[in-house]
């Protein structure tokens, strides 16, 4: 009998093994290192993460240690876009072209305080990837509301009736900048996120990825449900996975069935697992449903 052929080794998980080191400072069930594992499957050690003040700054650990076998540059809250632009240009001048610069910023650091430097980097079309990991509040400082917190959600600064405004949709803002590549992703769909990073890697210019990242601490759910809740956001149609390039929106595989509203799970299934939505009234749930419909109409118009 001949030698049996070794089984093919899929990139996930085999290429995720070496860069994200065990024993980081993240809470149990944290979505942040889940996202980093996918980054590492694409870029390995050859990435420079530019991280503004956020949970991620803490998760990688304090000097002299670093939980990532990749370079991390800790920067001031508002500056991820600017610093990543500078590093990208410095590498280019030095002729280093096998290292990926990635701005890895929270929703507060992106939708709120980092918006100006992000917009500048996009407008100048610097060749790097900006990833907004969206845990939908300022988690590191104690769950304060951000402009990316969804309607109705409890936070420590919206304590009684929840947030009364809808989420700021940063991916749409980036599409309006006319950058070469914009995508949404979710920690529940690592293969989809992987494929998007692979595409982003091949595109020259500014790339933006909006990563949905449920946080057990801030959203008030059992840490074992991080992936489940992220998946429910997609299955209920609340979070739509797509890519936008060459002037067209392309719905990603996991979201394709939900173009048909009858295929979507009721949003209640997503909301009921999270303590932050505990006090939603039926009227507020109706408002959330309307928002979902409105967002899908936007998606359809751009396909």
């Amino acid at each position: 009998m001949g030698e049996s052929k070794p089984r093919p080794r899929p990139p996930l998980p085999y290429n995720m093994r070496d860069v994200v080191l065990p024993g980081d400072a993240a809470c149990p069930g944290c979505p942040i290192p889940m996202g980093w594992k996918v980054l590492s499957a694409v870029f390995g050690e050859k990435m420079i993460l530019v991280i503004p003040a956020s949970c991620s700054s803490v998760v990688v650990g304090a000097y002299p240690g670093n939980s990532l076998k990749a370079s991390v540059v800790h920067v001031a809250f508002a500056s991820a876009g600017a610093v990543a632009s500078g590093i990208t240009e410095a590498l280019r001048r030095r002729g280093i072209n096998d290292v990926q610069v990635i701005a890895w910023a929270g929703d507060g650091g992106t939708a709120d305080i980092g918006m100006a430097s992000l917009s500048g980097a996009a407008e100048r079309n610097h060749d790097f990837i900006y990833i907004m990991y969206d845990n939908e509040a300022y988690m590191n400082t104690g769950i304060q509301r951000s402009s990316s917190t969804p309607y109705g959600a409890w936070t420590t600064t919206t304590p009684i009736i929840g947030k009364t405004e809808h989420k700021k949709d940063v991916a749409k803002i980036m599409i309006a900048h006319g950058v070469p590549y914009v995508a949404t992703a979710s920690v529940a769909y690592p293969h989809d996120f992987y494929a998007k990073l692979q595409r982003a890697k091949r595109i020259h210019g500014f790339k933006f990825i909006h990563l949905h990242a449920p946080c057990p601490v801030g959203w008030r759910f059992d840490p074992k449900y991080t992936a489940r809740i992220a998946r429910l956001a997609v299955e209920t149609g609340l979070w739509v996975l797509y890519e936008y390039y060459d002037g067209k929106l392309r719905l990603s595989g996991p979201s394709r069935p939900y173009l048909d509203p009858s295929k979507r799970k009721p949003v209640e299934e997503y909301l009921k697992l999270q303590g932050r939505f505990k006090r939603l009234t039926p009227e507020k749930i109706e408002e959330i449903k309307k928002y979902v419909e409105w967002n899908w109409e936007w998606v359809k118009r751009h396909m």
Binding site: R17, G23, P33, G65, N66
Partner: protein, 94 residues
């Protein structure tokens, strides 16, 4: 003014660079209140638990099945929730 504000000689900085290190937050296994126990007979080697584990402590191999590094596993339970065949059970730590 005699003293120039501009230093012309090269400056040798000592840059405090952090280095990659396992366990930057210590042995995070101590955080655990529940422990994931794998039934390798039931396991269908789908890799999902390894792909999702936030602490990167699971290894799935077709031959040997699932192994978990309990020194660092935080006991979040994500692996047990994503397993399609319920091969991972969470049991309370003593």
């Amino acid at each position: 003014m005699s003293k120039s504000m501009v230093r012309l000689e090269p400056i040798k900085y000592h840059v405090p660079l952090a280095r990659p290190k396992q366990g930057v937050a210590g042995k995070t296994g101590f955080w655990r209140t529940e422990k994931p126990i794998v039934d390798n007979e039931k396991c269908i080697r789908c890799y999902l638990c390894e792909i999702y584990c936030p602490v990167n402590v699971i290894r799935v191999e077709p031959e040997t099945g699932v192994t978990i590094d309990y020194d660092y596993c935080k006991g979040c339970g994500v692996c047990s929730d994503v397993c399609p065949v319920n091969a991972i059970r969470m049991v309370p730590e003593e």
